[in-house]
């Protein structure tokens, strides 16, 4: 099972990489999406036994997906509005708030 955990962690880190290193809002949202997927998969891996996911892991996984869907749809809409206001998807230019 260890490689699966490692791969899952790599997926999570890829997501973080997207959030941290990418400047495009859409890419950041994609990064979040990858993180959500990795967390959902981690839940399934943790609960996996004998060909079936047991315990509450399925439920929590579903909650993860739904929560992710909710947050990301709001993010996408916010990103569109941000593009409308700032004229760019570049997060490093969207920084009126500082100090």
């Amino acid at each position: 099972m260890i490689p699966v955990y490692v791969l899952c962690a790599i997926l999570f880190l890829t997501g973080i990489y997207g959030v941290v290193a990418k400047k495009n809002l859409i890419k950041i949202i994609i990064g979040i999406s990858l993180m959500v997927q990795s967390v959902a998969l981690l839940l399934l891996i943790l609960g996996y036994a004998a060909g079936e996911v047991g315990g509450l892991f399925q439920t929590i996984g579903l909650i993860t997906m739904i929560g992710g869907l909710a947050v990301m749809s709001l993010m996408i809409v916010t990103a569109v509005r941000l593009h409308e206001k700032y004229g760019t998807f570049d997060i490093s230019e969207i920084r009126r708030l500082k100090g």
Partner: protein, 634 residues
Amino acid sequence: MNSSMLLWAVFLPIIAGALCFAIPDRIKWLREGFTAVVTLATLVIAVLIFLSPEMRFQTAELGFAPVKFLDFYSYHFSSFLIMFVSLFGFLISLYSMKYMEGRGRLREYYPYILLTVGAANGALLSDNFLPFLGFWGIILVALFLFTTIGSRDASPERIFDAANKNMMILGGADLALIMGVGFLWYLSGSLTLSEVSIPLHGAMAISAFVLIMIGAIAKAGAMPMHSWIPHMAEASPASVMAFLPASLDKLLGIYLLSRIVLDFFELNLSMSLLLMIIGAVTIIAAVMMAMIQHDLRKLLSFHAVSQVGYMVLGIGTGTPIGIAGAIFHMLNHAIYKSCLFLTAGSVERRAGTMDLAKLGGLGRMMPFTMVAFFIAALSISGVPPLNGFVSKWMVYQGIIEAGAAQYWIFLVVAMFGSALTLASFIKVGHSVFLGDKPREIGVVKEAEHSMRFPMVVLAVLCVVFGIFAQLPLVYFIGPVVGISFPAFPAAISWTGIWSPTSGTILLLVALAIGGLIYLAGRIRVARTAPLYIGGETTGEGTTDSLSHAPGRLTGLRDTRVLGTEFYDTIRNMEGLKRAYDKGEAAAFDIYSYGKHVFPISEVLKLLHNGRLANYVSWCLWGLIILFIVMASIG
């Protein structure tokens, strides 16, 4: 007597203060009368408490800490102090009726007086540290609110700056006090004031002592925590100055300082020396600053700082007679300094200014004020037979009795401080009440009765406590330090208790020096006075001095001897000049060091540069640290 009286002494003024807010502005006589009556009633209660034996009032312990919500305990020390607190409250509310007339925010002013009296009584009577700290802080809040009311001639910014400074210095000191109390609790296991008594060993006990001492001397206004008083003086009405920094804060600060020396800790040599040094430096530095002031209020406030030095010095000696002298000096100081501020207030009310350069010759028109002023001024300068002399002398005796031969330096400093004080006050008295009246000031009247009464009462007290010094010593101070002074009929024989030879000689020398300094100032003035140029003074000269630019007065200089030149003489003396320059640049002001905080803030602000990637990376660093912690514990 019933111990619930203690509750009344605290909560009667507080509740009355809350009610007083509700009195509408239209019936101001009710508000003023109410305040005076309540403070008088508190005074009566305080006297009754003083006359009764020790009392204790306790509520049940709070569940969460070994603290009673209210734990009041009256014994000779606290009960004689609450008497004076209430007395000052009464006199000030009487004085304010006319003095504060026509100013804004009076609706708050009177309730604050009542709240302060109640809170001060509460702090003095509390026998548990938690309520004590609460009341102690309320006094500061009241001081802050009082200060924001402000005097007429100060700009709103200046007023708030003064309030700000009070809050910062005293608030910081209060936090030091809280820390100190925490340490004390940790060491002694008790939060009850009358139970705590620990030896002064180890870093924690020393820090506890120093921290509580900071709280106490800041309230009293000793250096280096003194700078709020002069700043406040510039922006506050004289009645407020007389009430809080001059009297109540001194009583409370020195009360706490005496408590830590007498009760909580057993004083050791190094701490004793520390206190004496603080005292000596305060005496001399503050009086030097006072010498160069042009503004009467500010001058008085520097003297208020300087006098604290005697009290701290006296307590620092650790000898019973020194501590008794310090406590007596605290009481005396509250009386004469309050009186001085009140006379200054009367002068301001009549002449419209407190600038020494613009005053003069008021003595004939304001005889009561003048007499009160001179009594108090001679008292503060330590001229026999007034009260200031007795207490100062006791402090000197304390220094001598403390034993170490090197302490003569403190003695000299204290005496020299006295001399400078005398010189300074002769000058002030001269330039305000004697000499020639400047044209700007028209014919002025003596202060109203309600203003005259407090001044006279305080002046009389100065005399009584001087001539019959045995009275307060036997009834108020003796029990506190455990000295039994000879009984009352032998009042005049106080000189016989201890051998005063060296003290007397030094004192006489000091007085002579004071006179000499004053004369030196006069001579210089006579030499440097410019010739009369004339012609500038326009016809619009009214008593409203606020409209005058300072430059306009230069033409008047020849006609009378001004205070200003005298101060400039001192100001420009070789060797002192640099110190004064630094002093005016606030190098000695602990508050001014606060600005070094802002660069840190700027650096931190730069870090918050609006980049989301950075913000998320910080979280990563947080996780990194947590992971490493996790690895290190297994």
